[in-house]
């Protein structure tokens, strides 16, 4: 085992897959010498050259179209959209073209591509550099949506995504790049479509992903001391969702909280809540609780941003509320 950051783990995944398979290449804005904003691909151009680490024009729809086209003729492109906030520019290519391409061919063509991007707040980057937009992509049958929360998963999921024959939207979190974790020396994969119980518990099932998962684990530690036991489930892949792991957990704990950094209305929490309310409502001993960002753009002001985005305290308050111990503020 070795200790790597989330960033390094992702870079290792890219490097290993590029070494393993000549058809894998990277394209995106400023990914070569500059290493992009969050430095995930940093240095790869030295190893693989500009042919396979391609700086593109500033044109997100062009990038994603090029990615799709190359995938159709035998390449395995890994595109980068620098911030998920910019992905709406490429929405038609992602949604109408990529997600539907295989279906349009009557299921005869494979679309092996990955769109790496990152979202989330916490660095006062303002309205257009802080959003969490995964929910939009979960409403697009044909896509897969993957959101790693720890370095181990980041590497294993990215490697699996690159080998996957369906298009994957791979969403990282800017607030996690510096987090460290243990990674095996030997090669490994983390399967897509499989949730993981990151912390067992008996009182409340907390479904959380990306940075919210980390917060949920911290909250679980704090709450343990006051006798509230959280079972924290990391879906890892949002689409298709591993419903069984979530339902099994809820059947055990009888309570559900969903945590995410995206705003509440129209967020993925609604989907998880609905699945449980459809399939396991009889097991519930409390209302379902969504701990999410408030319905607002992300403000620049750090205090406001902190307030809008859910933190460990909000999870703790929500858990206490579910246990009937207090009424939480949100």
């Amino acid at each position: 085992m070795k200790e790597l950051t989330y960033r390094e783990a992702l870079r290792e995944a890219l490097r290993e897959e590029m070494k393993r398979d000549e058809s894998v290449f990277l394209l995106g804005e400023d990914i070569a010498e500059y290493g992009s904003s969050y430095k995930v691909p940093q240095g790869l151009v030295d190893e693989f050259g500009h042919e396979r680490v391609r700086n593109t024009p500033l044109a997100e729809a062009g990038i994603i179209g090029a990615t799709l086209g190359a995938a159709l003729v035998g390449m395995r492109p890994v595109a980068e959209i620098m911030y998920i906030d910019f992905s709406p520019i490429a929405m038609d290519q992602i949604f109408n073209q990529i997600a539907k391409f295989r279906y349009m061919t009557g299921g005869t063509v494979k679309v092996p591509l990955v769109i790496r991007t990152q979202g989330g707040g916490g660095v006062s980057a303002g309205l257009h550099h802080s959003q969490s937009l995964e929910a939009l992509y979960t409403h697009m049958p044909g896509l897969m949506v993957v959101m790693p929360s720890i370095p181990y998963d980041a590497k294993g999921l990215l490697k699996s995504s690159i080998r996957e024959d369906n298009p994957v939207m791979f969403i990282e979190h800017k607030g996690l790049y510096g987090q460290s974790g243990m990674i095996p020396e030997e090669e490994y994969l983390v399967p897509l479509g499989k949730a993981e119980v990151k912390c067992e518990g008996k009182d409340i099932t907390v479904v959380a992903y990306s940075k919210s998962l980390v917060l949920a684990l911290q909250a679980a530690e704090t709450l343990e001391k006051e006798g509230i036991s959280l079972e924290v489930v990391d879906p890892r892949t949002l689409l298709p969702l591993d419903e069984d792991t979530i339902l099994d957990s809820v059947k055990k704990t009888s309570r559900l909280m969903v945590v995410h950094e995206a705003c509440k209305t129209g967020g993925f929490g609604g989907e998880v809540a609905a699945i449980v309310a459809e399939k396991a409502i009889d097991y519930l001993d409390a209302p379902i609780k969504r701990v999410t960002a408030l319905d607002s753009p992300i403000p620049f002001n750090p205090r406001l941003e902190d307030y809008i985005i859910p933190n460990e305290g909000d999870i703790i308050a929500g858990a206490r509320e579910l246990m009937g111990k207090e009424v939480s503020a949100r």
């Binding site: 090029a66 279906y103 061919t105 009557g106």
Partner: protein, 323 residues
């Protein structure tokens, strides 16, 4: 006759006949009740036929909602196309796509998209994939004049030009973006001037003159194949019918304009040249037409008799699953 040899012109002529015949039959079947939209390309056949004649089987092609002609020019089969129009399991997309979405992978025809402009960035990507794999395949992307206003057009050409990709962008300028005449949506007289924004060759030709299209197309395809990068070709043409079969096409065009253009029919024009030059005889033509019609009869029969997709398969083909 022209730089394009007689045999090539004859070949192109036959492709045009095939396109015309297919389109006419599709309209007949539309009126009999096949589902969905039909966007006829009748009147515009010279462009795909003259381009397609210079493509290899392994070259790639992408097109748009008005794509029947382009798809046929790439050699797609009538039976599977017709079955797709009939929404049958035996169609090119197993009935999931329909007229606006035909994909003929057996002919490296990588699909028609009904989102105007959206095919162009994909075409650049296909060409990128070919170039990176050192395949000397050319990608051709067809679209209409209206599509040149889309951001997708711009981004696609930015990529194709800067990476010298082996792709040819072919615009069938039928003077209208649906109902909107060219002068209402752009100040340009020649849309091929848009090529100047990318530093690539752009050329406008009479899109109803087969030889003219063939000349620029063969040159552009050759250039692309040899690593010389993309070309933008604008062929001036006209669609004789409305935007789709539900549009009479009369609210924004005059009868005179349509009649004028009927006189410039590209098939009649080439046919009289070929007859005059004795490259072909009347009986040759009758024979070809009879063959094409027979093929179409069979295609319609095949389509009509083919099974519909099964409801049990409704959710298949969305994701690839290794079994």
């Amino acid at each position: 006759m022209s730089k394009i040899g007689k045999e090539k012109l004859k070949e192109i002529y036959i492709i045009m006949l095939r396109i015309r015949a297919f389109e006419e039959r599709a309209i007949v079947e539309y009126h009999k009740g096949i589902p969905g939209f039909i966007h006829s390309s009748i009147g515009e056949e010279a462009i795909p036929a003259a381009v397609g004649a210079f493509l290899r089987g392994d070259d790639y092609l992408l097109t748009t909602h008005r794509g029947h002609g382009d798809i046929i020019a790439k050699g797609a089969r009538f039976d599977k196309m017709m079955a797709e129009l009939f929404a049958k399991e035996t169609g090119y997309c197993k009935g999931r796509g329909g007229s606006m979405h035909i994909v003929a992978t057996d002919r490296n025809m990588l699909g028609a998209t009904a989102i105007v402009g959206a095919g162009l960035p994909i075409a650049s990507g296909v060409a990128l994939g070919c170039k990176m794999q050192k395949l000397d395949r050319v990608t051709v992307c067809f679209f209409g004049d209206g599509a040149t206003c889309t951001g997708a057009f711009h981004e696609a050409l930015c990529f194709a030009s800067v990476w010298d990709l082996p792709v040819v962008f072919v615009c069938a300028n039928n003077l209208y973006s649906l109902s909107t005449p060219q002068k209402v949506y752009t100040k340009l007289e020649h849309i091929s001037d848009r090529a100047k924004a990318y530093g690539i060759p752009g050329v406008t030709v009479d899109g109803n003159d087969v030889a003219a299209v063939a000349e620029v197309a063969s040159e552009a395809i050759e250039r692309a194949r040899k690593g010389g990068g993309p070309t933008f070709i604008e062929g001036m043409t006209y669609r004789i019918y409305g935007h789709h079969m539900g549009d009479p096409g009369t609210s924004y065009r005059t009868k005179e304009e349509v009649e004028d253009w009927k006189k410039k029919d590209p098939i009649a024009r080439l046919q009289s040249r070929l007859l005059k030059a004795k490259v072909i005889t009347k009986s040759d033509i009758e024979e070809i037409q009879a063959d094409v019609n027979r093929e179409l009869d069979e295609a319609v029969k095949f389509a009509a008799e083919s099974p519909e997709p099964k409801i049990e398969d409704a959710l298949s083909g969305i994701y690839y699953t290794a079994r």
